[in-house]
């Protein structure tokens, strides 16, 4: 099966600019996750979708980050305005459903550098 597709692979922007990342999960996977992985740390959940509804966005900095999953398939994550501390790899993952027992498949990530 095709994996989780993410684009772009790399992005360099100046602080205060905006940026958007795109994720296409595995076909049929109802649950989609966005994780932020700062260098030297483990992935941290930003937002979890079940179809097109938000399950958990408690760790999403909502003053600057937004995410949507229209039609319950593709998803976009946006940062506006970006700060230096947003430099990280943004990982998208998907699973068949929410709940324990369902494995996650991760994309290759988007490496964001804010200068």
């Amino acid at each position: 099966e095709a994996g989780v597709a993410q684009s772009p692979r790399y992005k360099i922007i100046e602080k205060r600019q905006s940026v958007a990342f795109w994720c296409n999960p595995i076909s049929g996977h109802a649950t989609l996750y966005w994780y932020q992985q700062i260098l030297g740390q483990g992935p941290k959940l930003l937002i979890q979708f079940q179809n097109n509804g938000v399950v958990d966005d408690s760790q999403l900095p909502k003053d600057r980050f937004s995410a949507e999953r229209l039609k319950g398939v593709d998803s976009t994550l946006k940062i506006q305005p970006a700060k230096l501390e947003d430099s990280a790899v943004y990982l998208c993952a998907s699973s068949l459903a929410t709940g324990v027992g369902y494995g996650y498949t991760f994309g290759s990530g988007t490496r964001l550098t804010v200068v």
Binding site: G3, Q41, G42, L45, L91
Partner: protein
């Protein structure tokens, strides 16, 4: 809040040495446990997982992990590492709470010299 602790930040071994990476979690209820590996330039891949049953689980590439419930631990082991095992290793926990996603540790970088 639930958390995952990986005690070793960077481990350096020679080929054929034995490996043990520590992982502890803080959650009093039932959990599923995972180890993921990230090879240089690649995406996260599942090494092994524990859901229930035998607390000693075997994964790919000769890795195994033991769940010790009383110690809230899920340590990763391999009897003889290879140069190709050089990677970053992440322990992750999925608490049995509705809607809770995977919680990752900070990761351990393993460097194996030939």
């Amino acid at each position: 809040a639930q958390s995952v602790s990986q005690h070793n930040h960077h481990v350096i071994l020679s080929e054929a040495a034995s490996l043990e990476l520590g992982c502890n979690y803080s959650y009093g209820g039932t959990v599923n446990l995972f180890w993921y590996v990230q090879y240089p330039g690649q995406h996260l891949q599942l090494l092994l997982k524990y859901f229930s049953g035998d607390p000693l689980v075997k994964g790919i590439k000769g890795f195994e992990a033991e769940f010790i419930k009383s110690k809230f631990s899920f340590n990763l082991r391999k009897p003889s590492v290879q140069w190709s095992d050089t990677a970053e290793y992440f322990c992750a926990v999925n608490p049995h709470q509705a809607g809770t996603a995977l919680i990752f540790g900070k990761g351990t970088t393993l460097s194996v010299s030939s």
